[in-house]
């Protein structure tokens, strides 16, 4: 840029010289061209200078070339100036305009792509949302949208196949337990009936009778297990939709009354007689109380006391035991038994847990100072 300006200056001086050579006219066009007589021939001067520009009312920067020439015996000083157009301004202007263009393009592309992508990915996100809302326990059909994009379309087909498979497997599993339990009842009934006929038939000896009653006991265990498995499945299948206000204090008091006849362990019950109202299926409330109390009685020290507290917020049941559970995390697993001592089905607490899950009650277990306690928060 600078050299261009200088070249122009030199070219202008050359023209001025040529003009002076032709006719001796002193002309000036201040501040661009000034011709004056000089006394001495000095070397040319090239410099920057600042001159006031009245038209713009500001100081402007000029490039100035002054050369001294003797033309036709006369000495001249030729000063040529060129306004240095503010190159930084230009630069800034250029950069700014570029940037503006880039930004505009960027914004345009951004929104353009966004709109396009939205349209493109819409089926994908719709399906993703549908999959997020998918629940294996509900029978609501999942509605997926098709897409023109092959990958999305394939994905949709695969997801649909998977969901149908998972659904049918889940259904089979759900019915399996119920079916098995159901189908077992009749053979059990036959065995039981036959044993009773044998017992009442021809004379037996004491040993044979003992064996037969032991079989009766095992049949009873099987029956219990069956009943509880069916109950678990029914709770899982949401077959208990009868909601009633249950007074937990009354409920647990009835349970305690039933159990007191069957156990030497003392049971103490406290709480608010009028307040403990909980909204749940009355049958499940009975099962919940029965299982918790029977669990406490089974695992209590023979001379211990089972303490029960019932309010409208919590139901807590505690019993004294010798040592903490080895695997408290497995407490609610099916068929988990900490000891073989008590012949339980291993399903009582699993059922309690399921009932709590169904009604979103919080159940917790603690072992402090030789006392096992269960707390259900309603």
């Amino acid at each position: 840029m600078r050299s261009e300006v200088e070249e122009e200056l030199y070219s202008t001086t050359a023209r001025v010289e040529a003009a002076l050579g032709k006719n001796d006219i002193m002309f000036s066009l201040s501040p661009l061209v000034e011709v004056t007589y000089a006394n001495l021939i000095s070397p040319e001067i090239l410099k920057d200078t600042i001159i006031y520009d009245p038209s713009q009312n500001e100081m402007e920067e000029f490039r100035e070339l002054s050369i001294f020439k003797e033309i036709k015996g006369k000495k001249y000083k030729i000063t040529v100036r060129n306004l240095i157009v503010e190159s930084e301004d230009i630069l800034i202007a250029i950069i700014l305009s570029y940037m503006t263009i880039i930004i505009l393009v960027f914004i345009f592309l951004f929104y353009f792509n966004k709109a396009r992508n939205n349209k493109l990915w819409l089926p994908f996100f719709t399906n993703l949302e549908a999959m997020k809302n998918f629940s294996i326990t509900s029978d609501k059909p999942i509605s997926l949208v098709d897409s023109e994009i092959i990958e999305f379309s394939e994905l949709k087909d695969e997801v649909e196949t998977l969901i149908n498979k998972v659904r049918s497997d889940y259904k089979n599993l759900k019915h399996y337990t119920e079916d098995v339990s159901h189908e077992l009842q009749t053979p059990l009934a036959i065995i039981q009936a036959k044993i009773e006929n044998i017992i009442n038939g021809d004379d037996l000896n004491d040993k044979q009778f003992e064996h037969l009653t032991s079989i009766q006991k095992d049949i009873q265990r099987l029956t219990q297990m069956n009943k509880r498995l069916t109950l678990l499945t029914k709770i899982e299948n949401n077959q208990f939709d009868n909601l009633e206000i249950v007074n937990m204090y009354d409920r647990i008091a009835i349970t305690v009354k039933n159990f007191q006849e069957l156990s030497n362990v003392q049971i103490q019950i406290s709480g608010d007689v009028n307040l403990p109202l909980v909204n749940m299926d009355p049958y499940l409330a009975e099962v919940l109380c029965n299982n918790l109390v029977s669990n406490a009685l089974k695992h209590s020290n023979p001379d211990g006391i089972v303490k029960i507290f019932a309010s409208n917020k919590v139901l807590s049941i505690s019993n004294q035991g010798s040592k903490a559970l080895e695997h408290p995390e497995k407490l609610y697993s099916r068929f988990y038994r900490e000891s073989e001592l008590a012949k339980s089905t291993g399903l009582g607490l699993a059922i309690v847990h399921k009932i709590c899950q169904l009604y979103k009650f919080k159940i917790s277990y603690q072992f402090i100072d030789g006392t096992h306690s269960f707390t259900v928060k309603f």
């Binding site: 189908e183 009842q185 039981q192 009773e196 009442n200 044979q208 012949k343």
Partner: protein, 224 residues
Amino acid sequence: MKILIAEDEIALQQSIATYLEKDGNTCEVASDFNEAVYKVDLYEYDLILLDINLTTGSGLDVLKSLKKKKKESGVIIISANNSLDDKLDGLDLGADDYITKPFHLAELNSRIKAVLRRGKYGGDNTITFNEIKVDTKSRTAYVNGKSLGLTRKEYDLLVFFMTNKGRVLSKEIIAEHLWGDNSDLADNFDFIYVHINNLRKKLTGEGAKYIKTAYGSGYKFIED
């Protein structure tokens, strides 16, 4: 008494019949839905044991047709399904009782007798055995007209014994009759022993020594 057993499992049907015939009942059997409808339609029974899941139809439909014909037989429903809905459906349709498989024959027998007692003809609210008389309405037992003052459990126990007289009853059966599903808690059966002993004492105190031990650990209610 004339009893119809509508049950498609032949083995169970025969076992029930064997047990009930020992008491002098006449048992007829129906092995499927059509046979049950046919027999119910044609004959009069004092009591019908009705399986809900008959192979070719529902026992509940047999019950409906029975009620439509205004027959007065007592009905006990037998079901493999321990669901409350089934139970309520059956009782709503006019069944007298409901029992879930598997059951003890002694328990079934006890229920049959209870239904027959409540029955419209010939039924009264008393069970009598020699000098013992039980009033099932007021739930009191008398020996020679003198009240025994039994507790609730002792009363239940006596009725259970009397309705199954001459049968060997194991502690398992007794426990289940008295405490139902909770009986598994009574692990050593000490509690049954206590109740039986108390009942025995009260009866023998009045000279009624009918509760005998059988095979060491079972019980039998029988005349000497």
